[in-house]
Each structure stands twice: as structure tokens, then as C-alpha cells.
Symmetry: D3
Subunit: 165 residues, 6 copies
């Protein structure tokens, strides 16, 4: 698998365009206010597969049985409404989300969104810059925890030995 991370710096604009196109394709051509929750959740499912290399989000799937309203709200509101909005490209929105999750100490969620950011063409170095910045608003412990979490993520995505990530 080549998920298009450009280790030198700027992400490949081509991939980003494809992702953006994927997101737009998922949104029915009608005003958002006219969508039902079911349609919004469906859109959220498409958004997540766009962000997550075609895979569903395991966290979300586990919630669906016991906490159906929370799973639906995450899918329809967080994913379907918020992450699919126009007005900000996927790269910038995910980097801002990484900054917000890191600043409040929610590293498990930061990791998910950092993965989406890498899938959307953000480089590892750009994610590191977010972590450096977080020292200013939120202090060193939050930034250091975020750094460790990114290290784990980067290691998990690296082909171990002649294999696939």
C-alpha cells in the first residue's frame, strides 16, 4: 500500500483532490437541511471511508450495538455534517482537529485524525509542527504525549520488513 505520504514535505495535490472529490461525491446534491438523519449517517459512513482508506472506523462499529444513539450522532453529526463541510480543505481541517485533540489531551482521538490527515496527504513533518505548536497553548505534557502518540502511529504505518503496513 502506498498511502501517498510525501516524506519530503508538501503532500501530493493529486491525492488531495481525489479525496476531496470522494467527499463531494458522497454528498447528495440537495441542501443539507433537507437530509434525514439516516441520509446524514450514510454520508458520514462515506466520509469515514474516504478518510480511512476505504475502511470503516472500528471504534464506531463497536459502539453501534450498545450505544446506538452515540454511534449515530458521531456518524451523522461529527462525520456526516462537520467533516464533510465545504469551506476548508480536508488537510487543514484535519490538522486543526489534531491540534484541538492534542491540546485537550485526547490522544486516542488525535491518533485517529492524524491517520486521516496522513491519508489525505499531510506529511509526518507537518503533523510534528502541530505538536510543536501545542506547547504554547497547552504546555509541554500535552505536546510530549501527542509526540509519543504520533511516534506510535508513524511506526504502525511503516512497512515492517518487506511487507505492508
Amino acid at each position: 500500500m502506498t498511502h501517498g505520504t510525501d516524506t519530503l514535505g508538501r503532500p501530493p495535490a493529486r491525492l488531495r483532490t481525489l479525496v476531496a472529490a470522494g467527499l463531494l461525491a458522497a454528498v447528495p446534491a440537495m441542501p443539507a437541511a433537507a437530509l434525514t438523519t439516516e441520509e446524514r449517517a450514510k454520508r458520514g459512513g462515506e466520509v469515514i471511508r474516504s478518510l480511512n482508506n476505504g475502511q470503516p472506523q472500528p471504534t464506531l462499529e463497536r459502539m453501534r450495538e450498545e450505544f446506538p444513539f452515540l454511534a449515530e450522532a458521531t456518524e451523522a453529526y461529527a462525520l456526516g455534517d462537520v467533516w464533510s463541510r465545504p469551506g476548508l480543505d480536508t488537510r487543514t481541517r484535519q490538522l486543526a482537529a489534531v491540534a484541538a485533540f492534542a491540546a485537550i489531551g485526547e490522544t486516542a482521538f488525535m491518533k485517529i485524525h492524524a491517520g486521516y490527515a496522513l491519508n489525505a496527504g499531510v506529511s509526518e513533518d507537518e503533523l510534528k509542527e502541530i505538536v510543536y505548536m501545542v506547547t504554547v497553548p497547552a504546555g509541554f505534557p500535552r505536546a510530549i504525549s501527542a509526540a509519543r502518540t504520533l511516534s506510535e502511529l508513524f511506526a504502525e504505518r511503516r512497512p515492517s520488513e518487506g511487507g505492508t503496513p
Copy 2:
């Protein structure tokens, strides 16, 4: 004052280039590790004037007399080291900072960085997208407080009499 906010969406690349050029001009052509704190603070002063339309930051000036080490650390570390780093453009770094400050409820600092973002060519609509996103990691009160703070900032920057922004 024309701070170059492009209400349609993407900021003028020209302004962004100038800002970036201004920042780079401020950095002596030597490895950062070889800079003294005095030089880093000077660089921080230049960064702040780049971000703040040529003006010093009043908060910083007030601290200088009674809390000199905190003023110096803000100037040399936060501004001189962090905000002037390469690896992320000013727009993206400031949007991520706005997200982090909003998520932790530090609206006064969010306002300062949202102002820097507008100066760097970010549109009001892009800042609103950050606020919408913040509902997901940090809940509705933080997002609503951030929205009110942005409303104040937008109002303060609008020409009060007979002009348009």
C-alpha cells in the same frame, strides 16, 4: 486598512508570500541553535509585527516591566521559535492555533491568533469552520464561546463609518 481578506474563500497567495518573506527576512541565516535568546527575542518581535500588521502586541508590552522572563519567553520561544518555524505555512499554523485555543477555552488568546490569521489572508468563513469543528472534540460551550469571540473580532475590524472591509 486592507488586510486582504478574500471573502470568497482562498486567501490571496501574494499576501501570504509576502508575510512568509517577512518572516524569513527576520531570521538570520544561521542555525537556530546558534541564536542567543536576545536574537531569538528580536526574531519574535519581528514575527509579531509580521503577524500583527506592523504593530507590537499590547499584552506582551504590558508584561515586559513586571514579568520580564515571561515576556522574554513568549517573545523568544512562542513567537521567535515556534511561530517562525518553517514546515507549515502561516495560515495553517494559525488556524490550528485557533482550534487549540478554542478547544481549551482560552478565547482571549484565540482572538489574538484569529486576528493574525485574518492578517495572513485567512477568510472569516474559514475561521467559522474551525469553530464548527471544535464542537466535536470539545463540546458546544467551547464552540459557542469561540463563535462569540470571533463575532467581536470581526466587528472590531470592520470600518465603522462609510466604508466596506
Copy 3:
């Protein structure tokens, strides 16, 4: 309308039933997942008027112009979806919301929900118990700030001179 705050203690069960009935009346007799965002926002508007003595929420109205998506999300998701859910009576849900807002230090939002709780028949003494409890999870500053905010709310709702609230 007399919102029936029973200063002696237990709220009138009759009023609570009416409030609940009002909420249910606002919800179309169809599965929530089949509602459009527009319908959910309409339901949210009805919920807020049920909770707020027939009045709209001024905070929400001010957001509508400049931050339409945040106003819509608050109305459709927070109010329309969450506050109107069955499974917990209005009194208990609002008391739990007051506890959560107090614990995270969001006193302005705590005040709004404490007002809804009083409208739903919660007594002032029951709200004070929540504040006392908050010392345990969140410490004394959060509880003391919440106490001050409740004092303000109670004073605002007391007939000033010969009138009724």
C-alpha cells in the same frame, strides 16, 4: 403560565408530566432517523420553548445570523436530538446537565440549564445539592463559582417588588 417552582422541595409531578407531554407533542410520530435536519431543528425550537417558558433562547438567536451552522447544530442536535430524547425525565437530565456544566467550569451554560431545571419543577434546594456534590469530582473553585452563578439566577427570578416572576 406559572412554572410552578415548589420552593418547599419536590416538584409538582403534574407539571413535569405536562412538560414531558409538550416535548412529546413536538416530536413527529416517526422514527428519529427519518427526520430531516430542518425537522430536527424545528423540534429543537419547540424543545427550547418548552424548557424556557415559551421563549426562544437569546444566545441561539444571536448566533443564527453569523454562525448559521452552529446555531442549526445546537438546535437540531443538542436541543432537537439530545434534550428531547425519552429514557430520562426532564428534571433528571437537566440536573445531570447542570452537574456536567458546573464540573467543567462553564457557568454561563450551567445557568441556562439551571433555569430550565427550575422551569421543569426542580427546586432551588435540589440545585444546591448538585453544587455541593461538584466539590468531590471537580474541587472547590468550580463548586463555588457554580454557587455564585445560581445565586444570580435565583435573584433574577425573584419578584422584585410586588410582582410575579
Copy 4:
């Protein structure tokens, strides 16, 4: 063991009355201000056994040796003074505590109080409603972490196979 969780919804009023009676029995018939810390700690011990199906709280027992003042403060103040207060029934106070602990991200303590709530007759579905509500004040990560913690608690209390929890 039948801990009285009514899976259909409303808790059995009978159990709740017994629990309340147990609490009251533990409180000497004298003004609280006249109790010594030793008496308040004893009352706290009785409160905890009422809430915890007759068992002491392991966390508290472990602290007693190395952090005696903290164990005593938890027992005398948090348990003896706060959880045994009149003015709010055990169900509502525990649900509000669950909301507060979830909102500040203290899931281990939330789990303890969610267990007390189940013991006092709160249903699993009512606890889920608290988690759904927490998305509004505190965002999705806190609610999702709380949901996972409740899932663990529910699983631990279910008879595994022909046994008792």
C-alpha cells in the same frame, strides 16, 4: 445476587427506599455539625457499603495505609458528608455524579459511581442517556470514553455463564 437493575426502565421504588433507609439509619440523630470526623468517617463507611452492595471500596482501602488523610477525607467528607445528604435521592445524585465525572474525563471514578447508581436501581438505559447528554457540554471524546467504560461495567456485572456477577 440480584442487584435489582430493572432492565425495562424505571428502578424499583422499593429497593430505592431500602437504600435510602439504610443511609438514614447510618446517620446518628444529631446535627451534622456536632459529629466528629471519626463519626463522619464511620458514616461514610456505612454509606459506601449501602451504595456498594455491602462491600467496602477497594480504592479507599488501598489508600488507607499510605495516604491516611486522603482516605479519611474521602470517607468523612465525600462519602460521609456529601453522598449522605438529604435533599436529593440517591438515584439522581449518582446520575449527576456520573455526568460530572464523565464530563471531566475521570472514567475510573465514573465507573464506581455508575456501579452505585445501578445498585440504587438506575437502569443501564438511564446511564446511557447521561453519556449521550455529555456530548453537548464536553464533546464526543469524553462521551465515547464514558460509553466504553459503561460497556466494561455492564459486562463485568453480567452473569457470565450460569454464574453470578
Copy 5:
């Protein structure tokens, strides 16, 4: 008013001894566990007057009428039990409290304890060191807010006309 602040640096050991003596004088010569809440609250009242130059704490007095249990808990637990404990001198305990309140953003409470610290002989410069340190665990906004709050406190305590501190 002579509150004994030694502007040169080290606090006068004499004052500190007197304060400590004052505290000990307030504690009946019996095991703490044998004190009633009323006695602990009385002790808390004496502690606060020791820390606050013989004055009661206005915040506490305002709570007494409407939130009697919170006022009592603050007085008996926070002041009577915690601040009067042996094992750490008043200076160190108040400086640590200032650090904790600053780190969680509770500047109003930080100001009260910074005032107690000054009364116990801590110098302004020592309080500034706490603020500088807070940048590391909690970030720059918390430290800058704490610095502003200390500036207010220092200004309020300075003789306005013709005197010396």
C-alpha cells in the same frame, strides 16, 4: 497595614513562625479525628484570619447564607483540615496552591492564595517564579493570565499615596 512582605527576597522567619504559632494555637490539643465539624469550622475560621491579616474571607461570608453546606465544607475541610495541617510550612503550601490554581486557570482563587502567601512572608519575586514555572505544565495562556492577576494583586496592596509597602 504592615503585612511583612520582604521585598528583597527571603521572608522574615519571625513572621512565619508567628503565623505557624497562630495556626497551632487554633488547634485544640486533641487528635483531629475527634473534632466535630463545628470545631473544625471554628479552626478554619482561625486559619483564615491567620492567613488573611485577621480578616474573614468575603467570598466565604457571602456563601454562608445561601449555600451553608458549601461554606461549612470550605471552612471545615479546605481551611480547617487542609490548610492547617502540619508537615509543610505555610509558605510552601501556599506557593504550591498558587501553582495548582494557576495551572487549572482559576485565577480568582489563585489571587486569594497569593495574598495569603504574601501575608506569610513570600516575596513578590517568588510568586513570579511560580508563574514562570506554570508555562511548562500548563502552557502560556494560563501563565500569562496568572501574571496579570498577580499584577492586580500587587497593585492593590501597594500604598497609594506617600507610604511604603
Copy 6:
């Protein structure tokens, strides 16, 4: 200067004097503002070895390869600038740091600084007093988590069988 660390706990005043001497020796006899980042990082390295019984900090070493700017900022700013400042003795600064880290729930970092405090001659009992105090600003969960973390630290430092800590 020997300001009287008690002999009841663990504090060897001699060690502390050596540490203080070590710190001072590490600081070049020139104004801090004239130091380069490289020199400040070197000073930070010496500070950490002083605080950590001559050992480097493993957390810091792991960051150096993947997050060089964060490692450098931690070393040059947090350690080199902040922890080496005059104006507060090592004991008091570390106790205040422990209070701040405990209050914000960053127990892993609290553990590191509690270890530095023990190395500088603070007693276990003094650290326990900080934990007791934290209940007031930050609530019982933060204090209880801090207590558990200190228990771990104390156990790790005790000679297991015929050895030395």
C-alpha cells in the same frame, strides 16, 4: 545557606547543596539573554542530570530522534531556562511543579518531578501534603490519582532486597 530540611524524612541537606552547586556551575557567568539555544540546551542537560541523580531523562532521549525541536525546547526552555532559574530553591519549585502537574491530571509528569523533588531532599511526607492540598483546587479524583502515582514511585525507589534505591 541551609534552610533546615527536616531529618524526619529523607532529605540529606548535603545532597541538596551539591545539587544547587551543580546547577550554578552549569550556568555560564553571563546574562541568560546572551546564551545561544545550544548553550541553553547544554545547561538543561546539566540541570536534568543534577535533578536526576546524574542520569539523563529517558523520555527526553526518546524524543530526540523523531521530535528534535520538542526535545530541544524541553531541554533549553523547560529545563535550561525555567528549572535553573534563581529566585526559588529547587525543593519549593519542584513541590509547586508537583502540585501543578497533579492538579491538571498529568500524573506521568508529576511522577518525574516528584522523583526530582525526592532527589533534592524533599521527604515522602511533604509530597503527600501536596496531594492532600490538591483536593481543594482540583477535586478528589485528581488527588487520588496523584496518590496512587506517588505510591508507585515510592515503591520503585525502595531497596527491594539488600540493595540501594
